[in-house]
Symmetry: D2
Subunit: 346 residues, 4 copies
């Protein structure tokens, strides 16, 4: 039985880890960390867990935690994980960080986009970017996982094969993304009130969103050289889901079948990435509640561009689900254990 500790268990992503681990055969949450709700019953914060979880929320205490559990998930704001981990901790437990602290290899880029100083530069190199379908082998033996961001997960999985196979021009990539509101977190902000979000759509972080360098770095590995993209996220009046619509110039004349073959080459054996049938567009409703990433593409011969699309549940494949997937890989579990829920519709 894998003993699990969660720092930040009362945010949306943290709560989703709790829910997923609760249906995992070989894992159990031993530490419900939550600075905001110390000593409060966990189910009093999330009544869906009434009669399911009886534990109380605990303060953060990384040393005590390291002695009690096998793996720590940090579902916390940027800067926290890098502040609290150290060699003592990493010797004892695996750490899966859902924040951005260890996602970007170039520390200057991190500090510029996030506006904070990195407190554990020495672990940046070691940390493995936990996009399971791309980095599975490295994940296996990692001590520290940088769990990918929600937008990067969906963007990279949608674009990676075509960039890797040199089908598209790496300097032409534009990613227009749409996210449900749970991605904005559970903090009490006017901008996220029901009446502010409902009956509205807006772009935010235009040309400045922090997921930009993360996507660029990973796409850079695929392209074998620096990639610069436009990335524009939008806030959609729904709870869950991310949809990515990405545009790029084709490097050559290609047929539907040729492109399909490339996607299949990378994803045919992947349980959690589904390449849809021709002309079926990914929709967030078809992946909600699951760890799936649905992808597809459309060639526009008129403009010689290709439109690449992907859909995920931002809290599962975009956060908690992928974190558990990484845990499964690290601990030799079936990769889909605890995260094989079928998408729930409607």
């Amino acid at each position: 039985m894998i003993k699990v500790g969660i720092i930040g268990s009362t945010g949306y992503a943290g709560a989703e880890i709790v829910r997923l681990i609760s249906s995992h055969k070989n894992a159990k949450v031993e530490w419900y960390g939550s600075r905001s709700y110390i000593d409060k019953k966990y189910y009093e914060v999330f009544q869906n867990m009434f009669q399911i979880v009886d534990d109380k929320c605990l303060d953060d205490n990384i040393d005590e935690l390291a002695n009690k559990v096998d793996v720590i998930f940090t579902a916390t704001p940027q800067g926290l994980c890098s502040k609290i981990i150290n060699e003592e901790v990493l010797k004892k437990v695996k750490v899966i960080d859902l924040s951005a602290d260890f996602r970007i290899k170039d520390v200057d880029t991190y500090e510029k986009w996030y506006g904070i100083e990195h407190m554990s530069k020495e672990y940046i190199d070691e940390a493995v970017y936990g996009l399971c379908e791309i980095n599975r082998d490295k994940v296996k033996n990692a001590r520290l996982i940088a769990n990918p961001g929600c937008f990067p997960t969906c963007s990279i999985l949608s674009i990676y094969p075509l960039l890797k196979e040199n089908f598209i021009d790496k300097d032409s990539i534009i990613i227009d993304a749409k996210s449900g509101t749970s991605g904005a977190g559970r903090g009490a902000k006017v901008n996220n009130l029901f009446c502010e979000v409902n009956e509205n759509i807006k772009a935010y972080g235009v040309a400045t969103h922090r997921h930009t360098p993360e996507i660029e770095e990973q796409l850079g590995y695929a392209a074998g050289g620096e990639v610069m993209i436009n990335f524009t996220p939008h806030l959609v009046p729904m709870n869950r889901g991310i949809l990515v619509t990405a545009y790029a110039k084709l490097n050559k004349n290609v047929s539907y079948d040729e492109v399909k073959a490339v996607y299949d080459k990378y994803y045919d054996k992947e349980k959690f990435v589904r390449v849809l049938d021709k002309d079926v567009n990914p929709e967030t409703r078809w992946v909600e509640g699951s760890n799936y990433c649905d992808v597809n593409f459309k060639i526009d011969e008129r403009t010689n561009r290709i439109i690449m699309m992907g859909a995920i549940d931002n809290l599962i494949k975009g956060a908690a689900g992928q974190a558990v997937q990484n845990m499964n890989i690290m601990f030799g579990e079936d990769e889909w254990e605890g995260i094989d829920q079928i998408p729930m519709f409607p």
Copy 2:
């Protein structure tokens, strides 16, 4: 392995049976019935099932079906199940009917409220009203289950204990219910279009809704005499969920603890009915995606009335989940097999 046939597998309730059975250890769907989509791949209708279900939709053929499966779920409009079942069928398979055909013992009442002639009156007596927590023993040996309606399930579970224990005046019951839109089905009707439902709330079927006599009959058994209620359903702009707010006169001065003890007496050992802590109101978000029914109450000493509240996911405890729960009881499975999903929030 229990072989399952579904007639009406492409409605919302039918699709939910498919989803739940797909995660059931000892059951498997063998027949995806759907008159509207014959020969179409099931996943083409519900893309969430892509790469999960590869079968095609089949026409209704009760005789062939009876030979192939162990249990038939009819998730169809009123009148169909009563038209197609017969002794040959019932000798071979169990039938769990999600329509109203066998819920009401008095055939005149049925025909009056539903406006159709009943085609299998001879099975009305035999049919067991499958509200598992109340009728578990009868369900065990039934051949034919009348799976309760969504509003009746939530209403009866909320009111039953107090009526049975004579705490409330049986002539004073008013049920004000609120339902998500999946309860209206997947038919293409202007009234159920997004723009007609969104940003709106309305009552419908005021004083005439067909679930009224169903609730009255079941409450009548608890009260030991005829019960007449007011029942008003409302349509809420959300996908899933039913909330019941019921009002009744108290027969005597009672304390919180006395009432709580009555609820506990009936539900303490029931996994799927959760009596909430004092002053915590049921909310549909805390049961969405699960088979739970959350109930609670509030005494109003000023008016000597009690407000009884209940919340369910209308597609699960209010339809498909309870149907599978009935199947589990009938086939000697763990009652919660396939339906022990934790509520998904947000």
Copy 3:
């Protein structure tokens, strides 16, 4: 030109006053009060007002304000208006208070339900309860208007005629109400975040909601004696709208036509109260964006009860619109000036 001052102009109700006054021929906002946004351009808080309002938000200064304007709207939390008004102010300007401070004549009842001490008891008697259709004559000459609450407006208009004409039993009234989320205000609270409200319905303030004594007092005037009700509000995932479903015992056998005649007697000449055709239920979408209150009823002969229903836009007839309606009456304007917008659908 009526000069208008608003204290609390950046809440939802305050902003709605701004919007309505902006289309009023003979009124103009001279003071955009907002403690939270002092010196900020009003349109920076509400971008819909970009290029329409160029003023800055001002601090509260009742004395200065009283010298500058003809009427002050206080769209503020309970307790503020009663703290700042005095004879000096009332000699100079009319005051329309959208809070509950002057709605309840019995100060003990106010202090008990609201949990605060009343700071201007001397004006409670003088204040006129501004439910225009009922108290129009008193409004005309008032200095101080207690603008009715959103739930009370809809509840009273739905029930008043039948109670006044003694058609219903005053001790049997149960009001089950449903409100959009703008009624909860613009404060940054976790409970009002999009993801907490969306896909959910819940009751709140069960048997304890502060609008209860306000409704009871007004219904008491109609009944000619003390009235005690059950009142249960629910939060609906939509921006605007209140729906009231009220239940009462009929005092005698009455026909549809007799009841209809009573409603018509009271509302036939009222522009803003529409008695709908037979069997057409009020729905919030049909009044959204307008000052209308739609009402109707259904007799249930089986239970000898009547179901009375009403729908309003909570921010207009339930707050800002009625406040402007009161202003129009007080200043001799056409009653519908500035508030005759047609409901916007969808």
Copy 4:
């Protein structure tokens, strides 16, 4: 008083024309055309119009209509207007066609993208593309207006100034658009049911949407040469609103101020186009219920691209409002008469 006839008055756009004309000082609807609801009271279809419109719906009869009214709005599917107009009609009345029949000058392009034969080719040249801010002078004397599509209106207003002034590369334009569901019309289709749209976002018509050639033609006039774009619309779970996020390569190094000056040059005197302050992104909630188009831009120096954004209410500036604006111009009315409603929020 301008006498107005509407063919298709019970669709969402047609109903919005009714609503707007009802608050127009010098216009009045004389003919509520609706094949689906002949002889039914208009308010029975749209209860918001109860006690406001008492007329019945009438069949289409273009000859009778032409004798009775001064202007005909056709808010109908493609192909109808071009089938019914002729010289007799155009001699008698102005026609404002909200369908696509006369928007595209090249009839082959029309027939290819729309898949229908054009029945009035002889009027294509004469028809004026009624994007008021661009073609105001031509509108003044037109007999036949091709009222722009919702996506084209928002797209063109967002991009036009920079293309006209040669700031952007005409071959690099990508338009990613998002629309509320009223844009899909009031037809009873499964895809537009509440439960199918709610909690979902999807792209549709990828690389094939019919608004593509319309946008290309108009942008072509600005660019002074053929323009080919990528255009991807998305369906958003909200009633109203269109947001356009458009990307293009900058032709040269430009500053914020230089770009701002270009937008101001075109829109400074336009009431209905608002160029927002720096770094304020257009959001649909700030224009909902109004005829405004909010636009803004963001320069991304890293990629040398510019992101152009626009927001409209699809039923008003994107359909009915612009149609009335065209009417006002044609009949010498104040351009904003009947359509100067302030955006309603929330």
